[in-house]
Amino acid sequence: MENLLNFFIEIGKLKGKKRRGWILRGIKDPETIASHTFRMAIIAWLLGEKKKLNINKILKMSLIHDLCEIYAGDTTPYDEFRPKEKKQWKEILKKWPRLSRGEKEKIFLEKYKKENEALEKLIFKLPSSLKKEIRSLWADYEKGLTREGRFVRQVDRVENLLQALEYWKNDKPFAIGPWWVQIEELVDDPVLLEFIKTLDKKFHQK
């Protein structure tokens, strides 16, 4: 029991960790990693029902997908650029970052390794069966090994788009273009593509 309690205390830290992407864009009091997870899990569940996916697996996968960020931190697609001045950040954030195939592979592998180590550290004292399950769900999510893994990974981006649109809709504090560019490359699920059209209608069309 004590090991479980310690695990719950550790993951509770995500309730206070603000997502870096919003901090970089100057959003005041932005959402935390846990609040992103909360809505993402519900989206994955409700839209996953339409696809007759394994909802038990989808929910667990959504809940654990960002746990590694307790130790690995929250990364953004812009991390490679690391400008020193605030002004430069503003310019960089106007466009979706483009990388060569080699750079993408390198970043993917480095991120995977770092997050995998963080996850191992976090689940180290959990019972073996739970450890195995969390490890497998996370690998599935990261690599998109199954229908559920590919779906949840895309839902992660869709929830992020919804949050971006909510922050953006009032006073347009940042460029929304990169989110749309990214989503058109990442999402191929028909249910999510239909949902994205609904987002477009709601936030961009009268």
Partner: protein
């Protein structure tokens, strides 16, 4: 209901599906006999198999799904030389977007991994690029219009 769609796979991807199908069929055999296969003791268990531990119906659903994929699988091969200047499945495409260069490989949905530059042929960008040649510009329209200029197309398998 099983989908009547084609599943485009590279040779490697197809082999992976065949292996999973065989593994799961063996697993089902074990489970219906009430035995616990050794695979559960393995630390590097295939994540797909884990949810089947609890529920035989999910295992059966997945086996049917794999059968459907195998039945409708279409191997991605390089097009004839005279058509290698057109974006098709399996093409590595170098594009210019918004003044920057990017590189994609167009694959089927089962093998897509945008973090590694593998874009699904069913994504809006993948779909739009298909059938276009070097030098052409394609526009992907979401609320934001994005122009992809095709700089180079390459097929690196036989």
């Amino acid at each position: 209901m099983a989908e009547e769609k084609k599943f485009y796979l590279t040779e490697q991807g197809l082999e992976k599906i065949k292996k999973e199908y065989q593994d799961l069929k063996n697993l089902k055999l074990f489970k219906t006999r009430g035995e616990i296969p050794k695979i559960w003791q393995s630390e590097d268990l295939n994540p797909e198999y884990l949810s089947f531990q609890e529920d035989l119906s999910f295992l059966e659903t997945r086996i049917v799904e794999l059968e459907n994929i195998l039945k409708h699988a279409e191997l991605i091969t390089a097009p004839p030389k005279e058509k290698q200047d057109i974006v098709n499945l399996g093409a590595q495409v170098i594009v210019e977007v918004d003044g920057q260069t990017d590189e994609f490989t167009i694959v089927g949905t089962l093998e897509a991994n945008p973090s590694l530059g593998k874009i699904s042929n069913e994504s809006p960008v993948g779909r739009t690029l298909l059938g276009h040649r070097v030098g052409e510009e394609v526009i992907v329209s979401s609320p934001i219009q994005t122009v992809y200029k095709i700089k180079k197309i390459k097929y690196s398998f036989s």
